[in-house]
């Protein structure tokens, strides 16, 4: 185990990590400049995980947020989330998620299942009722399906289209990205709720407000906000890394 970790931190990895952190920040700012509703600030971290391994990925994530914290303390509080993202990217790399091409039907399936469950999640939330004692009841699945049948069909179709055109043959990387996003949303919520009162000071706060208004607790609303924005964002990051690795010369990857 210790030998494996040592092997991950070759001179090349040590050189790669600062460059990866700088890539995180540069692309993160670029996205803001282009006014896109995503973060994409962990591409470098995912890249290190994919190229060097899970431990190097975790270190990159943690350091990236801590160093960024020198300019923006908000990022530093979530350093452990970034570390987990790097770790998962490394595990994905070990399983060959960034090398193997997935069959296209798999991408379609993943896209459909993802958008479907996201829709169900949001609908369950917005249809929750809170009684006078503060006890929240969520609608049953059968109720949701009967009253929103058309929305669910549309969601499946949209998801399938996203899978077909966006994920293409990178289904494996996409799946890992989605899973990573879900994990990130869950583990970042307690800090966001306890330390920052559930807000991020950015546009996604509108989502938190919407969930709070429909009767969600603070922790649940933050988690719901993360569950809407994080998986999509991390899926895109993993896909971009998959694209990058596809256009790298084989000589580079071999080491």
């Amino acid at each position: 185990m210790l030998d494996n970790i040592k092997k991950e931190f070759s001179t090349r990895t040590l050189v790669l990590i600062p460059i990866a952190i700088a890539i995180n920040i540069a692309i993160g700012e670029l996205v803001v400049r282009l006014k896109l509703p995503v973060y994409l600030d962990s591409i470098g971290t995912v890249l290190v995980g994919a190229l060097a391994g899970p431990w190097a990925g975790a270190l990159t994530g943690a350091l990236a947020n801590l160093i960024w914290g020198l300019f923006n303390p908000f990022a530093a509080a979530f350093f452990y989330v970034a570390a987990v993202i790097g770790l998962l990217a490394g595990l994905a790399g070990k399983r060959g998620a960034f090398e193997n091409e997935s069959p296209r039907w798999l991408s379609v399936l993943v896209g459909a299942v993802f958008v479907f469950s996201l829709t169900m999640f949001i609908l369950a939330f917005t249809n929750a009722t809170t009684d006078d004692t503060g006890f929240t009841t969520y609608p049953s699945m059968a109720e949701l399906f009967s009253s929103y049948a058309i929305i669910f069909v549309v969601a499946i179709l949209v998801g399938a289209a996203i899978g077909y055109f966006l994920l293409q043959r990178g289904g494996y990387a996409g799946i890992w990205g989605l899973v990573t996003g879900v994990v990130a949303a869950i583990i970042s919520a307690p800090t966001a709720a306890y330390v920052f009162g559930g807000v991020t000071g950015s546009g996604t706060d509108l989502l938190v407000a919407a969930f709070r208004a429909s009767g969600g607790g603070i922790l649940a609303s933050v988690m719901a906000q993360g569950a809407v924005s994080d998986p999509f964002d991390k899926m895109l990051s993993f896909m971009v890394v998959w694209l990058i690795l596809g256009s790298l010369p084989a000589r580079f990857k071999a080491r």
Binding site: I17, A22, I23, L36, P73, V240
Partner: protein, 255 residues
């Protein structure tokens, strides 16, 4: 973020300041009582900043960074609280008492986290921090990563925007609807990342040729002054920090 001043606070050993910030964060967030964080900011952080002769800049920066969070948390948590005692009612606007109190508590925590980090960042030069970390036994490869990252971030930011301009002059659409802007990402990200990865090889050879992997003990040109008093102070800070964490965890478990 570092601001050069001649003050006792600036002359303190970086690790003394670091352990003070850590102590403030841990006690402010974990000790019981809703107003602990306000107390620490008013009676510890502000006087220390005054001693460091940075008070005016410090308040400006903390305020500037915290403001979006504060606005967001006050609006969301007081207006969208759900069940509670309304302070006043006007049309659909009815802020709740419970929400307002929660928002105030969160504002204190937000300011505490931001102020704790910024106090450290404003009075500590990154290079002296690195040297002091090396002195207490942090591997020099980690120090290399942090210093290099701080140096190359500005270069990468300008590189990203150079590529953006170059692609624009070749006719890349970077304005318009969201799809157009999203499509502009790949032609910018790919050149940025690929050209950076080419650099990895060169840098790795360069630092290896300069004895980066040497096992000999390193010496440093800059000596960081340290006193016995500060060493004891640091130990006291760290012991209190650990005791606070243990006390909070056992209290939580017993409850």
């Amino acid at each position: 973020m570092y601001v050069a001043r001649e003050s006792g606070l600036h002359r303190l050993h970086p690790l003394t300041k670091g352990s003070l910030s850590l102590l403030l964060l841990v006690t402010g967030l974990l000790l019981p009582g809703n107003w602990t964080s306000y107390f620490l900011v008013l009676f510890v952080i502000l006087p220390v900043a005054y001693w460091g002769k940075i008070l005016r800049n410090f308040i400006g920066i903390v305020w500037g960074i915290s403001l979006p969070f504060i606005l967001s948390v006050v609006i969301i948590q007081s207006l969208f609280w759900g069940k509670g005692t309304p302070i006043f009612e006007f049309w659909i606007i009815a802020p709740k008492q419970e929400g307002a109190i929660f928002a105030l508590v969160s504002v204190g925590r937000i300011i505490l986290v931001m102020a704790g980090f910024i106090l450290f960042a404003m009075t500590t030069r990154p290079d002296t921090l690195m040297i002091s970390l090396k002195q207490v036994g942090v591997p020099s490869s980690l120090a290399y990563i942090i210093v290099t990252t701080l140096q190359i971030i500005p270069r990468f930011q300008s590189k990203a925007f150079t590529i953006l301009d170059a692609q624009r002059s070749r006719g890349l659409e970077t304005e318009g609807n969201i799809l157009t802007r999203a499509r502009a990402l790949v032609p910018i990200i790919l050149p940025l990342v690929l050209s950076s990865l080419v650099e990895v090889e060169e840098r790795a050879i360069a630092i290896e040729a300069r004895g980066f992997n040497s096992k000999k003990e390193e010496t440093s040109l800059i000596e960081i002054p340290d006193t016995n008093g500060q060493i004891i102070l640091r130990r006291v800070f760290i012991v209190i920090t650990i005791l606070t964490i243990i006390a909070r965890v056992t209290w939580q478990l017993l409850k």
